[in-house]
């Protein structure tokens, strides 16, 4: 039984999701880690250090869903598992890989119960399926937030492989969100803001609090749609799935689709004007009141408590 994991990387660095995916599938067999892209030498070097990786395969060239899917499908033959995180790249690419191989994928896996048995959430996390996959090979995407990261300290060999796959797509522009906050999907603390913030300017209150706590920033769809926060901060069924130790939800009602993204949070704190808001009911700790009064007070109180992680 052998495993091909496809790495996630961004801006020349291995994404934190990859070490978690490796850990998630570490029981399934020896792991080859495939890195596809341009300027990926540093990524490959980082990939080689992840514990549990037998070999790093490096395929150089522009990455795009059609070409990558062709490359991965061509490499798939010797592997029993083909795996990537359920981030936007894995979601885009792995179903295409699966269909090319005439396989039904199992996606958004949150638990590996055994070699062919997996758990995945459906209905925005309001139900959990236990799936058994009797196919000869398995295409999986893994929710990184549901697993811990594999350790470092490895020194796996790196092999450059031929990549002649061509894409019909051309990248015209990347509109990135400039932010020095931690990766949302793997952050220990997340501060989330809702549409109650009222403006992009006011949303900076959330950013200030996040900065003080060394936290990543999340937002509701309503806040993103209103232009208060960039789309890649959206948490929920259609946004990112988070599982921090602490989630602080401010001015967020707790719609089903938002809750879908935070079920893995260990502790939830809610700040809301409405004691009946679903998120308040669900929170481990709630403070009822006006966020515009509470956040400034909280910033001061955290200073007094000597808390500083920025």
């Amino acid at each position: 039984m052998s495993v091909l994991v496809v790495a996630d990387h961004d801006l020349g660095a291995l994404s934190p999701a990859t070490a978690r995916v490796i850990h998630a599938v570490s029981e399934l067999g020896p792991i080859d880690l495939l890195v596809i892209g341009q300027d990926i030498d540093a990524v490959a070097a980082e990939a080689a250090r992840v514990a549990g990786v037998t070999r790093v395969l490096v395929a150089k060239g522009a990455s795009s869903s059609d070409a990558d899917a062709s490359l991965i499908a061509a490499l798939a033959e010797p592997y029993h598992y083909i795996v990537q995180s359920a981030g936007s790249v894995g979601k885009d690419r792995m179903p295409r890989v699966a269909a090319k191989l005439d396989l039904m994928p199992v996606t958004d896996v949150v638990k590996v119960l055994g070699p062919t048995r997996f758990e995945r959430p459906i209905y925005a996390g309001n139900a959990v399926q236990t799936v058994s996959d009797g196919q000869a090979r398995h295409v999986l995407t893994i929710r990184a937030s549901a697993f811990r990261a594999a350790a470092g300290g490895n020194d796996a060999p790196i092999e450059v492989i031929e990549n002649s796959a061509a894409s019909a797509a051309r990248l015209i522009a990347a509109h990135r969100t400039e932010s020095d906050t931690p990766d949302l999907a793997t952050a220990q603390i997340v501060v989330g803001g809702g549409v109650a913030l009222g403006s992009a300017e006011n949303f900076q209150l959330i950013e200030q609090l996040a900065k003080k706590l060394g936290a990543a920033i999340g937002a509701t769809r309503a806040a993103v749609d209103a232009g208060y926060a960039p789309n890649d901060w959206q948490v929920g069924q259609t946004g990112k799935i988070i599982a921090p130790d602490l989630y602080i939800a401010i001015g967020i009602s707790g719609a089903l689709q938002h809750l879908a993204g935070i079920q893995g949070a260990k502790k939830i704190v809610a700040i809301n004007a409405d004691p009946e808001a679903p998120l308040v009911k669900l929170a481990d700790l709630a403070l009822i009141g006006d966020l515009f009064e509470i956040i400034p007070q909280l910033l001061v109180e955290l200073d007094k408590a000597g808390l500083k992680r920025d």
């Binding site: 690419r93 797509a169 602080i248 709630a286 109180e301």
Partner: protein, 252 residues
């Protein structure tokens, strides 16, 4: 230009679903059903392309039970021209859905196929990408903007790092994200008119696709419940709680 839009009938996204006590699935009988929200954005996108002079014909296809006629009628009322219902009472896997849609693509030969990015029941997020593989067409998933430029399209996609714009040639597959547009509500005269538009009902067996499931759903369970929490009265108490949580985190 011809546009094919694939739409799915699902439990309405506002319904709080209930897992059947015997673990066989989610209760869907007697529950309000409607068009998958992402599919609505796909239909709206087709309408806007057509209104901008890029779509002569919009064909809607849905795979599901007889009652899926409802969601096709909704799409026809939004302005689409004709519908196809591929009728089956079986719950099909996404791979089978994609294979059926590939047959429809072979028959209809559309320039653009629009789908939702995911169905909010199974939350799979597969079918568009699978259809692209099976028809060997380029794909642009999670679209928040679609522009026709020359012989191709430029699509802005919502990705983990923000947004990116790609250019792909036609024919192509595009899946719609929620920020693509605001779906219209059909006016009553359009609803009346929809009933007179062509709607072909075709049994699934006609397509000769092997629909045998590849996966076994052993059981469906409710998610773990969270323990009840408490509330505090001041920012001071809240700060103390956060400080304790953080120091516990750092101790690990």
């Amino acid at each position: 230009m011809k546009i094919l839009v694939a739409i799915k009938r699902v439990v309405d996204h506002n319904v709080r679903i209930r897992v059947r006590p015997d673990g066989t699935g989610v209760e869907t009988s007697g529950v309000r059903m409607s068009m998958n929200p992402f599919c609505k954005h796909a239909v709206e996108a087709a309408m806007q392309l057509s209104e901008a002079g890029h779509g002569d014909e919009i064909v809607i296809v849905s795979i599901g039970p007889k009652a899926s006629n409802d969601v096709i009628l909704t799409a026809l009322a939004m302005g689409a021209h004709r519908g196809i219902l591929i009728e089956t009472d079986a719950e099909l896997e996404t791979l089978a859905i994609a294979k059926l849609l590939a047959k429809v693509v072979a028959e209809e030969n559309p320039d653009i196929v629009l789908l939702g990015k995911q169905a909010v029941d199974d939350d799979s997020n597969h079918v568009g990408q699978m259809l692209a593989a099976l028809t060997d067409r380029p794909q642009a998933t999670f679209a928040s903007e679609i522009k026709v430029v020359g012989q191709g399209i430029e699509v802005t996609r919502e990705v983990d790092s923000g947004r990116e714009t790609i250019a792909i040639p036609l024919p192509a597959i595009v899946t719609a994200d929620l920020r693509l547009n605001t779906p219209r509500n059909a006016a009553l005269p359009m609803v009346m008119k929809a009933r007179s538009k062509p709607l072909a009902v075709r049994p699934v067996a006609e397509f000769g696709v092997d629909l045998t499931p590849r996966l076994t759903i052993e059981k469906v369970s409710p998610p773990a419940e969270r323990a009840a929490g408490k509330s505090v009265a001041s920012a001071t108490e809240l700060a103390a709680y956060i400080a304790t949580e953080v120091s516990q985190m750092e101790a690990l």
